[in-house]
Chain length 256, copies 2
């Protein structure tokens, strides 16, 4: 069903890195960002994963930043030759890269002047007009320019940086999620009922997710909306409607 009605602010995520597309690394940043944005009422509407190739990053970034209120990128801001996110962001915005004095000072205090190799200096490069995004974990900061936030790919560091992103975004009404667990009934058994409820609540986003496993099988029904009263009302109507077709084994569970 897509975005619940009433959303004010949209965002996209751009995941940068060969290691995701080669299967070497399991991305977990998208989910962390999704949860973080959801809690602030920002709708995450698209994600893309691209390799460490300049033109690919530039093209994806330009497509996303023109379409959504905010873009968050992850990955490619380390010191090695394959870390080209800063170059790509500068190219996308048509500005130069400069060494940020605060980051240089930070690196010097960490490594000493002699230890400031050309590789480490790479991490001080920020597009002209960019501002720093705090890194409370380890290493140099990320940065932000225009509506783009450029974060690290290492999950612990990414999560730390995210805490400095939220306060800079205009949020919206938070989406309220409720989940009904229906035991012993597959999606097909309840889909008609579910669709009927969905159609009478166009502002809500209703999703259906089967589960299988040792604990049996069934369907989780997820209801999302911005008006808590309507979410509550829809939940009640859905439980009643399911009873009406003989589905009694329904209980609310925490939304994952």
């Amino acid at each position: 069903m897509g975005r619940p009605g009433g959303g004010a602010t949209s965002a996209a995520v751009l995941i940068i890195g060969d290691e995701i597309l080669s299967g070497r690394t399991q991305d977990t940043n998208l989910r962390d960002i999704a949860k973080y944005l959801a809690a602030r009422g920002v709708d995450l509407l698209e994600a893309r994963t691209v390799p460490d190739v300049l033109e690919e990053i530039v093209a994806a970034l330009n497509a996303l930043r023109s379409r959504y209120d905010y873009v968050i990128t992850t990955g490619g801001i380390g010191p090695t030759h394959d870390d080209i996110t800063a170059d790509a962001v500068a190219a996308a915005f048509g500005v130069e890269l400069v060494e940020h004095p605060e980051i240089i000072a930070m690196l010097e205090s960490r490594w000493g002047e002699g230890g400031l190799t050309s590789a480490r200096r790479r991490m001080a490069r920020v597009p002209v007009g960019g501002e720093l995004v705090k890194n409370p974990v380890a290493g140099p900061p990320g940065f932000t320019i225009g509506n783009v936030f450029v974060l690290a790919g290492v999950p612990q560091i990414m999560r730390g940086m995210l805490e400095d992103v939220g306060p800079r975004m205009k949020g919206g009404a938070v989406v309220v999620s409720r989940t009904l667990r229906v035991e012993g009934h597959g999606e097909g058994a309840i889909a008609d009922t579910f669709e009927r409820i969905a159609n009478t609540h166009p502002e809500m986003s209703l999703g259906s997710y089967p589960f299988y496993g040792e604990g049996g099988f069934g369907t989780n029904l997820v209801l999302r909306g911005r008006d808590p009263a309507e979410v509550e009302r829809t939940l009640g109507e859905l439980v009643e409607a399911l009873k009406g077709v003989g589905v009694e084994s329904v209980r609310e569970v925490p939304t994952a």
Copy 2:
């Protein structure tokens, strides 16, 4: 560095589902597909995640299928109103959806004629010209049309369907991956050396990934290429070059 040289066949993945973008579900299909394709010499060059919104799916699918040799979609082929992948694929190809007689027969034998609700019938819909993709796990099959493979979102089922996708793709020379684990040296300490090796082997794709944790810190260097002899040669040169800058704590580890 992106794609290792010599690749013949390219692919993209399109992940369809609100549950990924809301943060409810951690996607694991991308990594499974990435590994599966890598083992067959097919380069995965992009992934996108879109919500359950028809126009978004159509637009992303058309962008990807015109650019890459193959597109694999996951999600949105169940029986509920939010399962609209078949509709979107048909719209993208400009063809009608029809009920596939094999799937109808399959559903009837599972549910009986009386149990074939309109919701379950949804799962029999295949775009005109599409062929079935076997589902060895549970439930109805996926389908393929043109250069697009449409698979389930449930990971167990997706993996099962994938086994019927590979044999239909033209593969290429498989990419060989080797990983060097460098203990006690961050990326910055070895990046200059690493870049020098990368520059002398433009056909190789070299990536650098820091690690931190209880077992200390360091950097994993991943070398990927299609010519096994060149991969071996590059690995040897890299080990020597690292020794040359005093980095001895290097050992090969299995590529994750």
